[in-house]
Symmetry: C2
Subunit: 337 residues, 2 copies
DNA sequence: CCACGGAACACAAGCGGTTACATGAAAGGT
DNA sequence: ACCTTTCATGTAACCGCTTGTGTTCCGTGG
């Protein structure tokens, strides 16, 4: 078998308790002894058994990340932020997707698989009402949400209302008055990104004294294909919009495709603004409200790790809001006189 | 504390050994007893302690996925395939990235963190010579490679030489003779995807009796920005190519951008073919050699899980090759007469 | 009618650490 | 010189499950 703490202890002429303390940097270990133990452990190529450590200590040293999608840009980018933090913190990252890669069917819910297995949970952009999310929260373990807010649960998000406002205001400033919007799903639940961005849209419109024409609203399901369909729907209106606010860059991409199919050019014929700061948005010259996606993950992970380490007393659940920034590119321009 | 197997045993009036066997579906348990135990366990809302189970059994029930990037399309897509399989197999997926999200610096190598922690390892597209990969392999635990082949190690890949050939042949068939190529990195190491694709390129060129002009070769580092620079370099040649083979779709996207900057239109002025079947390739009307990326991950994961479960005797390391398919779209067209 | 084999289950020894508590020695205070 | 701290370390009781080795009870063949 692999060598154990006992072997190290014997080789160092101390007890396993001392080895355990020495290796974990606990106080009350003579610095000489500590160094000797560290050296011997290294020589012996000793690696601690996580299972044993976990069993004895009750801490698992791992965090689960629950996400609806793995392969989509937003999610994988958040994930990369999370991963870098957890790696540095020496924590294991257990990845669990809530839906199949096809994005269709539900899976066996993650909640049961969490118990006794991780110290904390990071949930990426699961809508507040989501059954799976509910089950996870019911576990009552340290949890942080990313991209959603929920009363009483720590979270890291952007101000989606503001993002919607900024995007819309930009279009308004350019002189547009017939502004269409491509949102996510038909059933808008409160406190979701698209709901909030839509509110921002409305606020900006109202503030400018503009009508929100429900005929200029289409659903894009946050996918490229969906965005294309939505834009097509908008373009085939009797009176199409002169500008469109797409609630995600990917939907905006789809919208661009639809525009091209109709012989229209983004920025020249119709203005288009997205949200995200997707890698490809620069490439496609899309004006967008950039959100610090990687930081979303990074900061949420840091908060959670911090909470776990300083695990004395309940930390009050604070909801961190990260800034967004309008990035003006070629897809938006002043309305033609 | 949470309830343990002992509690279940007591409630069922049997020993913990029987509960353990019953719950894991082992033989030599009366079906009546088994059902009773299952019912009681469910009633008590019992969940096994993975740590204890792992410590006692020696199996961790988890697999590590090591990848250079998390947020890039290819990698996150492979990952999603892996995840779905592992989830179904009831295995934990430990995610470790080898580089920081910025793609720059190296991290603490993953190898030490693997020992005693996982039953197997899945490595995504780390070049064969890579130090980190070497260290992982030196651990000598069940490992499968994705996107690379290495003598003696199970792997799942596409035939990169063939992919390069197909892409190039397509351009040749369209009548092109001055064909440029955007490859990955300057230092080409054998057995990497770009090396092999380049070989396929050369083979096709040679077979058609065409010259490979080294001036028509540029490096794109598999990124959009890199592809853009590479294409710019190609376009500013005294005698630019009429067609370009980009070894990844993302580099092709960058190339498209460069073309547009030069007032050129893909498919009309210059033909462009990529490799991947990236989500956005359809959107951008890019001809590409599609590889089944998600399946790469899925199949590798299945193989590894299979090997771990039937863990009797060494399985011979077979290298699985998945098919690719040329998808002709608007970015390629016959050379102008 | 008895020995024998197998099924169903109980016992108990680990698995490899962690940690509360005990111990002893050195240091500090008066 | 004596008592109290403080520090370094040892002792040993878990942590919660798995599994090899019994033990008991039955059915069956001779």
């Amino acid at each position: 078998m692999a060598i154990t703490i006992k072997d190290v202890a014997d080789a160092a002429g101390v007890s396993t308790a001392t080895v355990s303390r020495a290796l974990r940097g606990l106080p009350n270990v003579d610095s000489g002894t500590r160094e000797r133990i560290q050296r011997i452990a290294a020589e012996l190529d000793y690696v601690i058994s996580p299972s044993a450590s976990r069993l004895a200590s009750g801490r698992t040293g791992s965090i689960a990340v629950i996400t609806p999608y793995i392969a989509r840009w937003f999610f994988s980018t958040v994930l990369s932020g999370v991963e870098s933090v957890l790696q540095n913190a020496g924590m294991d990252l257990l990845l669990m997707s809530v839906s199949t890669p096809d994005g269709q069917q539900h899976r066996l819910p993650p909640a049961p698989r969490l118990r006794r297995r991780v110290d904390g949970v990071l949930v990426i952009a699961l809508p507040p009402h989501d059954q799976q999310l509910r089950e996870v929260l019911a576990l009552n373990m340290p949890t942080s949400l990313i991209g959603v807010t929920l009363e009483g649960i720590p979270s890291v998000t952007i101000d989606d209302v503001l993002a919607g406002q900024i995007a819309t205001q930009h279009l308004i400033n350019l002189g547009h008055t017939r502004i269409g919007v491509i949102t996510g799903a038909p059933v808008e639940e409160p406190f979701t990104a698209d709901h909030d961005r839509h509110r921002g849209f409305q606020q900006a419109m109202n503030a400018a004294g503009l009508d929100v024409d429900s005929a200029l609203e289409a659903y894009g399901f946050f996918t490229i294909a969906g965005g294309e369909q939505a834009m097509t729907a908008l373009l085939t209106q009797r009176n199409p919009p002169t500008a469109v606010f797409a609630m995600s860059d990917e939907m905006a991409f789809g919208a661009m495709k639809a525009m091209r199919s109709h012989g229209l050019q983004p920025g020249r014929d119709i203005s288009l603004v997205g949200v995200d700061g997707h890698d490809m948005s620069e490439f496609l010259d899309l004006t967008t409200v950039v959100q610090p996606v990687q930081d979303l993950g990074r900061i949420a992970a840091e908060a959670l790790v911090g909470q776990l380490q300083s695990s004395g007393g309940e930390v009050e659940a604070d909801s961190i809001i990260l800034p967004t920034q309008l990035l003006v590119r070629g897809s938006t321009s002043p309305i033609k006189g």
